[in-house]
């Protein structure tokens, strides 16, 4: 067994209650750091604190999409029977976190610039495109009967997603040039001291939370499948 695979096996052996406790602890720590420890932004004041969640949730959503695509690749490549469900759950978590990115981004836009939606915010527009794309993934999945074909089609579409991320990013960057000649320049926050610590803790908290949710959903879905199988046997 290769090293990353062994690592993954080890990760899935961490018990769910332990994971839940870890994510609770981490999220609480992140909340405390964000609201009580991190200094106010000199330019935007208190409202800038949403940045710690917005950015870390966005990164987590990408991680979920990439994880889902990786499982899709495993399905197509190695025909691992568990990979299809794992890919679906990964994408599902990605969509949930993606919706949160849209929500937090929109709140940030309202506070900073007075509009709930800004087409000049590249990340927000990209997440809208991805959100539409992955909603179509669910339409595709729910429009197919359970079986190898559904697994294959969903896997291929999930793989398209990770190609679409950089392509769309590039396209949206290009679109700025003719749709919004004036780009908001926001001097990036200086990453030092408590700001860096707070961001890192928030980031780890979100990743662990996403992984916990992934495991919970996976366990539920597997139980559901087994129950359905048992019912079929008894009927």
């Amino acid at each position: 067994m290769s090293a990353p695979a062994a690592q993954l096996r080890l990760m899935s052996r961490v018990s769910l209650p332990a994971l839940a406790a870890a994510s609770f602890l981490l999220v609480t720590t992140a909340l405390v750091l964000v609201f009580f420890v991190a200094p106010n932004d000199a330019d935007q004041g208190f409202s800038q604190r949403i940045f710690y969640f917005h950015v870390s949730i966005a990164f987590t959503a990408y991680a979920c999409f990439i994880g889902g695509a990786w499982k899709a690749l495993v399905h197509l490549w190695k025909r691992d029977p568990r990979a299809d469900l794992e890919s679906y759950v990964g994408v599902h978590q990605g969509v949930i976190f993606g919706a949160l990115v849209l929500l937090t981004g929109s709140i940030w836009a309202k506070i900073s610039w007075g509009h709930w939606w800004l087409w000049s915010e590249n990340q927000l527009v990209l997440f809208l495109v991805l959100f539409l794309f992955y909603c179509a993934y669910f339409m595709l999945r729910f429009s197919l009967d359970d079986g190898p074909q559904r697994a294959n089609l969903c896997a291929v579409y999930a793989l398209f997603g990770v190609i679409l991320i950089p392509v769309s990013f590039l396209a949206i960057r290009l679109a700025q040039k003719f749709i919004h000649p004036v780009v908001f320049t926001r001097h990036g926050p200086n990453f030092h001291g408590w700001i860096l610590v707070t961001y890192c803790v928030a980031q780890i908290a979100m990743l662990v939370l996403a992984y916990t949710l992934y495991r919970v959903e996976l366990a539920g879905k597997r139980l559901d499948l087994r129950l359905r199988e048992l019912r079929r046997v008894y009927a």
């Binding site: 495109v129 339409m139 896997a155 793989l159 949206i172």
Partner: protein
């Protein structure tokens, strides 16, 4: 038979079928003209030529969708898709041939639509026509691929626009960019990159769409 001969035979079959049945192309032509008329009334007087160019891209993408929706439906209805998959040829040849056929229909529709646009609204420059040539490849490559996915589902044609439009957003951005800016090279390069990337992925992954 080698790969090129397979592709040629399959593409010839689709083109011949269209030539005899005349299902798709007249519908696409009628649709694009109707859309232009709708646009004329949707655009207020004195709106800029840039707005009209943007709408031209919308018209072409939707016209393409109309053709793409038909690409795999007859195969499914006549149950010939199974036969194609069982044929002793590389499965990706089916995708290449279908892409060529839909590309031919879309190009034929544009040969009528683009001069008509110039007549009804504003003239077109070389960059716009080049952008359409590049975008057509991407639209047909990706559209044929998701079209094959959509016919396998219960929802059929309903699903195709939902699957296709998020993937087509980069094409529209590149195309509209090339049509409206003074230096379009960057946008044309982006369209070419999109074509190469997605054509390769579709070609490599088509096997999984049709085979179980």
């Amino acid at each position: 038979m080698n790969y090129a001969a397979d592709v040629r035979a399959l593409a010839r079959k689709d083109l011949l079928l269209e030539l005899r049945a005349r299902d798709t192309l007249p519908a696409m032509l009628l649709f694009v003209v109707a859309v232009f008329v709708v646009f004329h009334f949707a655009l207020p007087a004195h709106s800029s030529s840039l707005a009209a160019r943007g709408l031209l891209w919308v018209a072409i993408v939707f016209t393409a969708l109309l053709g793409l929706g038909r690409a795999f439906v007859p195969e499914r209805e006549q149950r010939t898709l199974d036969a194609l998959v069982l044929a002793p040829a590389d499965r990706s040849a089916i995708w290449v041939a279908k892409t060529i056929a839909t590309l031919a229909f879309l190009a034929a529709a544009e040969v009528v639509a683009l001069p008509l646009f110039a007549l009804f609204f504003h003239g077109l420059d070389g960059a716009t026509i080049g952008a359409f040539a590049l975008a057509d490849v991407g639209i047909c490559a990706v559209g044929t691929f998701v079209g094959a996915m959509a016919v396998a589902t219960r929802a059929r044609d309903l699903l195709l626009p939902l699957l296709f439009l998020p993937l087509a957003i980069p094409i529209v951005i590149g195309g509209v960019g090339a049509s409206v800016v003074a230096a379009p090279a960057r946008y044309l390069a982006f369209l070419a990159l999109y074509d190469l990337l997605f054509a390769f992925v579709c070609w490599a992954a088509f096997e999984y769409v049709v085979a179980e």
